[in-house]
Amino acid sequence: MKRALAWFTGCLLVLQCSGLDLAWLLSWPTLGLVLVSSLKLLEARQPADHRLVALLQLLAVGLLAAQMPGLLASLLQLFTALFALAALLAQELGGALRWRRLLLRSGQLIAAALPLAAVLFLFLPRIGPLWITDVGSGQVATTGLSPELDPLGIAELVRRDAPAARVRFSGALPVEPYWRVLVHDRFDGRRWLRSAVAQSRPPFTPAVVSATTQWWSLEPARSRSVPWDGASLPASADLQIQPDGELMLWQPPSQLRTVRLQLSSEPLPWQQQPPTARDMQFPPRGQLSRLEALAARWAALPRDVDRLAAAEAWFRSQPFRYSLAPGDLREAGLDGFLFDQQVGFCGHYASGFTALMRAAGVPARVVSGYQGGRSVQPLGGSPYLEIRQSDAHAWSEIWLAGEGWRQVDPTTWVGGGSVASREAVLGRNLGGPRRGWWRWLQWQWWGLDLAWTRWWLSFDQTAQTAWLNQLLGSNPNWIGWLVLAGGALAFALGLRVTRWRGVATPIQRTLRLLETLDVTPQPGESFAALCHRAAASHSELSVPLLAVAEAHQQLAHAPLSRRERQLQQRLWQQALRHLARSVSDFWSGRAARR
């Protein structure tokens, strides 16, 4: 059975390994550990070998937990750890091993160790990573967003309906928000590319979190830029706002990421960051001749705002049409899209508008991210916003002197810009054929997942610091005493739990009562005989003692029908209660006489 337990644990581990991201360096040691533990299990003969297997499996669980912190994965890891521990315990639990006893014992041991683990987990101050290893490739994006925006090369945009992110707000959900992710500022005449991002790690500054207002749970992605609203402050030290307004996660890319943001009362610095030469970069003159000619007319306008207004007016006046299948425009180029075909999706409009603005002398760039999202109300939870890959969107940002970067979405100007046509323009295809119950289950699960994100994954160094500050107030040096005292208390509690041997049976309780009267069972003495002996030596208690003896005899030996047995059970309970009362009266009476 010990072997079966270990094999079962191994199977659970292999199951979880199938979800590993092999691009991450840590996944290889994990696979190695699982492999080595399985091989060791094959040749294990001695208890020492089995113990080693269990330890290797526990370590593998720990490494898996580091890579897959999601709710489902964590549940699996919990079970795996339980089974590995049970296999370890089975080595020393002698005699006929029974599942019930083994599981009870494992559960008891974990319950005993948990208080101490919780104290260490909650109170022991944490430290940040000792060194940074970033081995995952940052170029491959598995989200709907690509670091290279090339709308002209896409003949037909297939909307992927895969989930991208979930976000919970402490306040009301925003209406039609824009979630910026990537900023494309290099333009080669057709494509929009990202500049190389700064690779240096920001200095560690544990921010004091006043109140987290957004909890994000992101689907696996290798890109380090994460969606945000552009107006909040990161609430953990591993997030940093880049000068161009991207929010970067300074953490090795993992399977599932969580991001916490807090509301900022003032505008963020990136919005006022002056444009660089990159934001004005334009292909050699003459490549986009018609576009340049149009832009040259606007360049004559005095202010940037006027040029923006002129561009908006021009877009609204042209018969642009929104379509996900505009056909291949690589030959025609931007000129062909803007002036001939005039059919495209958000990427085309953002690309065309940004190029026009640059040609007109206004610093501009393309931003890709998500727009909107669906509000979901899970059972027994607070509502959250669900963002799917089909919500991917592209828009523009232009620099207006005196104001900073302003977000402009040229796609909304398409088709006259009326409110009624907006949904259709943006391609909000909400009414498609969807498996209702499946979607509903998914939403409920994500609700749980967000709660998990909020309460478990968000408890990091920053959150812990904030919490300890709140707890200790002005005496932060007490943390050492707190850990020591809490640890000792938790440890004592754990020891009590391990020594708990189950609820005492009525007979055990009676024996304890009799022990207070100095009556202990002798070898071979039956319970009834013991009661009789106690009654002989304590005549004042003889009535309840004899009643208990009689009731026990009846229950143990008399042939009783079901009804009679129930009746006898009641009598037995009554006799026991009577005896307990009499004994306590006996002692209090004796104390009074003294």
């Binding site: 720990g62 580091a66 160790a113 000792l130």
Partner: protein
């Protein structure tokens, strides 16, 4: 399981011992140290990846280790060891040494071993008194105290080994090892092969010595019959240590001869310096002779 023998250990010699804080020792096993290294690894991974799950698992393993220290200690603490009266045994062979273990609580796997003997593993120890027999291999004859007792446990997780040493003070009578060889004996009055010199057969009764059974008639298909000797008084040996041999060797030969003569139902006596046992037979006589040999 491996035992740990620290150089300085409190010697306790008594007829009974209660294991407590003063005579129980505990250190981590090699597996325990490996476990600790594993905890360190998990902590490192948790710090590097900021994973709460890994951190909690690391803390849990650490908590289990601290808890296991107490549980392993408790598994031995409070156990009462009492010497029983040991039966005589021969030198140079495995001899059982009886002990009684008294416990007020049930205990998990224990390992007991007299130094040089086989180890005894008790899968579990119930509440109350348990009698066990440990084996040891005495090298010298006489009244001997057994080799030190080593009792240890690594239950429940194998992370710590908790052990104690005890020298049980009850002496065991150790008879010289049985080694075939020459002994000096006075010639009997009529020396013949005694087992062949039977007169009659009678039906075998349960309890009679098997040496008296007439196996040849059984082989011929007749029922079990035992031989009747007409005058067993005639075959008497008076054994003495063989001259010219080392005294201890001579005693070993005597022990072997007495053992075999007793098995054959012969009558024999023993003469030792300062002690003389007249010829007789029977179990009690054999034991008296062997004891005389042991204490000579």
């Amino acid at each position: 399981m491996h035992s740990v023998e620290p150089p300085l250990l409190r010697r306790s010699r008594s007829a009974q011992l209660r294991l407590g804080l003063r005579n129980v020792y505990i250190v981590p096993t090699r597996f325990g140290l490996l476990w600790l290294a594993g905890v360190a690894l998990l902590q490192l991974v948790a710090i590097q990846t900021r994973s709460n799950g890994t951190l909690l698992l690391g803390c849990l393993l650490l908590g289990l280790m601290l808890l296991a220290m107490h549980l392993t200690h408790d598994n031995l603490n409070g156990l009462h060891l009492v010497c029983d009266q040991p039966a005589p045994g021969f030198a140079s062979q495995s001899v059982p040494y009886p002990l009684r273990l008294r416990s007020r609580v049930a205990r998990q796997r224990l390992r007991l071993q007299l130094k040089g003997g086989e180890s005894l593993v008790l899968e579990s120890l119930e509440v109350g008194e348990t009698s066990i027999n440990l084996s040891w291999c005495p090298q010298r004859r006489g009244l001997q105290r057994p080799a030190p007792l080593h009792i240890e446990t690594i239950a429940p997780l194998g992370l710590f080994v908790c052990w104690s040493r005890w020298e049980p003070s009850c002496e065991q009578l150790i008879i010289p090892a049985r080694r075939p060889g020459p002994v000096a004996d006075r010639q009997p009055r009529c020396f013949q092969d005694g087992m062949e010199d039977w007169q009659d057969l009678k039906p075998y009764r349960a309890g009679e010595r098997l040496a008296l059974v007439d196996w040849s008639s059984l082989a011929k298909g007749r029922p079990l019959q035992s031989k009747q000797f007409s005058d067993p008084e005639q075959h008497q040996y008076q054994l003495r240590p063989a001259p010219g041999l080392a005294f201890e060797t001579a005693l070993e030969h005597l022990a072997d001869r007495i053992w075999r003569l007793h098995q054959r139902g012969e009558i024999y006596g023993l003469e030792l310096p300062g002690r003389c046992l007249p010829p007789q037979r029977g179990l009690r006589h054999r034991d008296a002779c062997l004891e005389a040999l042991a204490l000579a």
